[in-house]
Structures are given as C-alpha cells and as structure tokens.
Amino acid sequence: MALIRLMLTIALLALASSVMAAGIEIREFDDPVTEQRYRDLTASMRCPLCENQAIDDSDAPISGDMRERVYQLLQDGQSDIEIVNHMVQRFGEYILYNPRLENRTYLLWGLPIALVLLGVVVVVMMVRARRNASAKALSAEERARLDALINRERSS
C-alpha cells in the first residue's frame, strides 16, 4: 500500500513537472473556435530548434515566439493557411508535421500507397497461382495410382 502510494506520488510529480516544463502562456480568446484553431496550429508545427517537439509542447524560446506569432495572426483574423504560410516562409517546410503535397513530396506521400498496391498485386498473383495448381486435373495414370492407394488403405 505504501509502495503504491509512493509510486503514485512520483508519477504525479513527474506529470506536474512535465506540464510545468512546457511553455504555457495564458491567452484570451474571443471564441472557442479560435482557441481550438490556436491549439491545432501550435500542435501541427514542429519546433525548429528541438527537432521533434511541437511548438505547443516546447519551452525553447523560439517556440514561445512562434506561439506568440500564431496568436497575433489569429487575432488579426488570418486564415489557417495564411498562418501556416507565414511560418513556412520563415522557417521552411521542416516545421510542418504534415508536409504539403508537391513535387518534392510525391515520393513521401505516394510510396505507402504504391507499396499497398504492390502487396495487393502480389496477393492476387499468389491466389491465382494456387487456384490454377489445384484446378489442374489429374492425368489418367495419376488417377489410377490414387485409386490404388485409396483401395489399399481401405482393404488393409
């Protein structure tokens, strides 16, 4: 019991410190829709400095600046696309967790689909090959041998 309580305390402390570590500013939003857009936008951009943390979860100074900019642009009434473009113009495609579909990223987006299609083709070919093999009729000689084998089995 004491052990469980101790573990719970440790877990809670760890949780609390991780929440405190992430940069949280208190922001006022006019409506819940804008607030949700802010959350979605900051969750979809990667911190340029920390390499694999979204800016809503990072306490790097640049992430704070980027959150602030997203907030300001939302207050200015810019659309999500405009805000994303604003950021990409400065920090590059790198910050997008979902890279946009363009010449450079066709392979990235297309490869999984191509591999699934390839898998479908392979499965279809295997099934067909198997069906052909089983459908092949036995020759007269084979049938006679099979009959003989079955008869021997029965008579013994």
Partner: protein, 175 residues
C-alpha cells in the same frame, strides 16, 4: 519465368530501400537550408545598438556583399566565433551584426570585451528581425549579395575551417 523475375525483384527492391535509408543515417538531422535562401533580405526598421536615435532598414544590406551575423551576449558560441569574424572584417569584408534578444548594455559590454568587427549592429531586442530571418538560435550567419538577396546561410558556430572552406569561397562567388 515471371516467378523467377519476381523473386529477383524482391532482393533488388530490398537493397534499393536499404541503400536509400543507409545514406540518410550519415546525415546531420539538424542541417537544413534556410527557407530564405535566394530571397530578398526581409524588410525591417530598427535602431542601432550604439545609437538609439539612428534608424536603419533593409537598404543597409544593399550596395556591397555583406556578412550578417546574428549574435547575443547570452550566447557562448558567439564569443568563440568572434576571432574568426574579426579576421573576416580584416580581410575587407563588410560585416553587419544583429544583436538578437539582448539588452543594449550587455551587447555593448560584449563588443568591448570580444571586439567589434561590425560596420553597424542592428538592435533587435524582441527578436522580430530574427524571426523574419527564420533564426531559431544564435549564432547564425547570412551572406547577402549587393542586391540584398540572401545567398548563403551558416547555422551555428563559425570555425576557422568554415571561414576558409565555406565562407570565403562564397563571398568570392557573389562579389
């Protein structure tokens, strides 16, 4: 026959994917080109570090090939690269500093302690010019050509080798 061909395709495909992934392993994940490469230096309006009454803007970067160095007193690597920047200035290259997320007092202290290779230092305490340049940590160095177009970007510490092997050739190229 087609079966054989298919069986041969499998190891070839595997090898192809393996090679593709293997060459990615040796890469530096933090290395990437600036999004501003080959684009005009962003417009800005700011005061200089030494004179709060002097206004400067992006025309500061036209007319001559200029190295723009983003630095701050709080940044240890900036101190280490100062000797290299002083040497570049000695070779007659025009240097402009951007004092990034710093205070005037600390910035001036830094210059008197580590030397001042810069023609002018743009004072950017909020990091707004840095933001427009896509700077996410100091030091960063940009090479701007005479038309104010960004031609080269160096992220992080500039070593003596970087000066010899990368920066000087780039300066020559765009002069």
């Amino acid at each position: 026959m087609t079966r054989r061909l298919l069986l041969l395709l499998l190891p070839i495909g595997f090898l192809g994917v393996a090679l593709f992934l293997y060459q990615g392993l040796g890469r530096d994940p933090s290395h990437r080109d600036s999004a501003l490469m080959a684009r005009q230096f962003p417009a800005f309006e700011a005061t200089t570090l030494r004179d709060e009454n002097r206004q400067v803007d992006q025309t500061l970067l036209t007319g001559d090939v200029t190295l723009v160095n983003v630095w701050g007193e709080w940044c240890p690597a900036c101190k280490q690269e100062m000797p290299q920047l002083l040497e570049l200035a000695d070779q007659g290259i025009r240097m402009v500093g951007i004092n990034y997320r710093d205070t005037r007092e600390k910035g001036l202290e830094f210059l008197s302690e580590f030397g001042d290779p810069f023609d002018v230092n743009v004072f950017d305490p909020e990091g707004s010019l840095g933001f427009d340049l896509g700077v996410y940590g100091a030091p960063e160095t940009f090479l701007v050509d005479a038309n104010g177009v960004i031609r080269y970007h160096h992220k992080g510490y500039v070593s003596p080798e970087d000066v010899r092997e990368r920066i000087l050739p780039e300066v020559e190229k765009w002069r």
